[in-house]
């Protein structure tokens, strides 16, 4: 546990460092770009940060290979109404961003974010703030694909049970998935949720498998992988919010009592502990969000950085070092992919277990600070 937390701390600090560092570069870069765009630099300077961030961030079209992209629907909720158009409108034939005259405003994509622009091409921040982007972006599309895969796989497995009967030994896909389901049940749900674990099994299993499949799909560099779903903070935040809501809806009287009015303490201690406990409750979804996001993103950044070494040194011999290292990091990433799905599911199960735990009147009074 200590090792794991140290590791995630390291990863987190590394990713934050990378991000801060990249921002400086980005800022420099954008100022440079403004000056160079007018002179039309054909020989584009290789920009490491931009390349890596371009691979990691969400986008409105799905880049397949070379100059072919899969256009995706853009859905914008503006103050004048809903606007839908294809993302191919936002790109010219050279795969550069261009402005698109929509129904209400003129839009252009800047680093994966759609902005409203004025007639002279500058960004109108005021109007942009009014436009809400509900597009089916690359990540959303990848999420739908992963959903489809999950549904296909597990409905097939479920049907196998019906077809082959429950007494016969599992076979094929069923025998591959069954140990994982057993693992989630016996290692994650049962020991942490306790007696009523069966009720929460579908929830824990869904969380575990959606993280797992997106972690693995994120490691595949081409379609249908290649999108960074589980390394996107919106994805992890969504899951953390759902866990937070479930935990607090299912929380019983003793759970709330242990937060606001710690039993077995004197009144001063009770008043002292209440805000700490409240912070603890609110910190849980944040820690869930950042842990998964940072772990997955850090892995991707590492692999991409190593590959970028070849372009930085502008020699193919750099691959002799960077490729083995990238493979090594990839192996670690595949371990982390499973580990993070496990940890997320484990923590979700622990929080649920804490919320529904039935305390005996003279039993355990420790405040369960767990993070």
């Amino acid at each position: 546990m200590a090792f794991r937390s140290t590791k995630s701390l390291l990863v987190l600090s590394f990713s934050i460092l990378t991000m801060l560092f990249s921002n400086n570069l980005l800022a420099q870069d954008s100022t440079q770009n403004n000056t160079t765009t007018t002179t039309e630099a054909h020989e584009e300077e290789f920009n490491v940060t931009e390349t890596i961030l371009g691979h990691i961030r969400d986008d409105h079209s799905w880049h397949l290979c070379g100059h072919t992209s899969l256009p995706l629907p853009v859905i914008l909720y503006t103050d004048k109404g809903i606007e839908c158009f294809s993302s191919s409108n936002l790109m010219d034939e050279h795969h550069h961003q261009k402005a698109f005259q929509g129904k209400y405003y003129t839009y252009q994509s800047f680093k994966g974010k759609i902005k409203v622009i004025n007639e002279d091409g500058s960004i109108n921040d005021q109007l942009t703030a009014n436009v809400w982007d509900f597009s089916i972006t690359k990540n959303v599309a990848a999420l739908f694909i992963s959903m489809a895969i999950l549904i296909l796989v597990f409905v097939t497995v479920a049907n196998t049970y019906k077809k082959r009967g429950i007494t016969s030994a599992p076979k094929g896909l069923q025998s591959f998935m069954e140990p994982i389901i057993f693992f989630v049940r016996d290692e994650v749900a049962k020991p942490n949720i306790g007696h009523h674990y069966a009720k929460y099994m579908p929830f824990i299993l869904t969380i575990f498998f959606i993280i797992l499949i997106n972690n693995y799909l994120g490691m595949i560099p081409f379609f249908p992988g290649g999108s960074n779903v589980s390394g996107n903070i919106a994805f992890t935040l969504a899951l953390a919010i759902i866990v937070f809501i479930v935990v607090n809806i299912k929380g019983n009287k003793s759970y709330w009592e242990h937060i606001f009015w710690m039993p077995g303490m004197n009144i001063g201690m009770k008043l002292f502990l209440a805000p700490i406990e409240v912070i603890g409750v609110l910190a849980r979804p944040i820690s869930l969000t950042i842990r998964l996001f940072a772990n997955v993103t850090a892995g991707h950044i590492l692999v991409l950085s190593l590959i970028c070494l070849i372009f930085i040194f502008k020699t193919v011999f750099a691959s002799a070092i960077s490729v083995p290292f990238a493979v090594f990091i990839g192996l670690i990433e595949s371990l982390v992919a499973f580990l993070q799905a496990y940890i997320f599911a484990l923590l979700a199960a622990m929080y649920i277990g804490m919320a529904i735990e039935e305390h005996h009147p003279k039993g355990d009074h420790d405040p369960h600070y767990n993070e």
């Binding site: 809400w132 509900f134 409905v155 429950i166 049940r185 959606i210 903070i233």
Partner: protein, 169 residues
């Protein structure tokens, strides 16, 4: 604001929305179509295995008990046999002893009877001898008295002759 600066750490509202919607849809679809049947099947199978195991255990215990019972029965039979053999032996010994006893008493009785008979005959014979000796003495005395006791030598010859004549038969 820090979140504004970091493009990676800024959650997109649209993405967040789609993620939540997708998760909820996925959860309910999988729950209904996959997790429920899978978990139910696994549970049923595990229960079946547990039941089979406990049944096997029970049967094993029963078998052990049966074996025990058999052993006990065998032991009992052995004991009974031993008792029977011992009884029979005792019985036969007793019979032999009785028979011996009886034979001995019969023999004693016969010997005693024989002795009594012998004694009687002996007494009878002695009485007879006594009577005959008495009669013989009287007869010889008569004859002696009848003859004249003149010659001493003759007398003695005569007594000899008489004595020779007497045959104690």
């Amino acid at each position: 604001m820090l979140l504004e600066i970091n493009p990676l750490a800024l959650p997109d509202i649209g993405l967040l929305f789609w993620n939540i919607v997708a998760f909820i849809v996925l959860f309910f679809v999988l729950k209904k179509m996959a997790w429920k049947p899978i978990l139910k099947a696994i549970k049923t199978r595990e229960d079946g295995i547990d039941e089979a195991l406990s049944k096997a255990e029970k049967v094993k215990a029963e078998m052990a008990q049966l074996a025990n019972e058999n052993e006990a029965l065998l032991q009992k039979a052995r004991e009974e046999r031993a008792v029977l053999i011992r009884d029979a032996k005792e019985q036969s010994d007793k019979m032999i002893a009785e028979a011996k006893e009886k034979a001995k008493s019969e023999y004693d009785r016969i010997v005693a009877d024989a002795q009594v008979a012998i004694n009687q005959q002996k007494n009878a014979a002695l009485t007879d001898v006594k009577n005959q000796v008495g009669a013989l003495v009287i007869e010889i005395s008569e004859k002696i008295l009848k003859r004249e006791l003149n010659n001493k030598a003759e007398q003695e010859n005569y007594i000899k002759q008489l004595a020779e004549e007497v045959k104690l038969n």
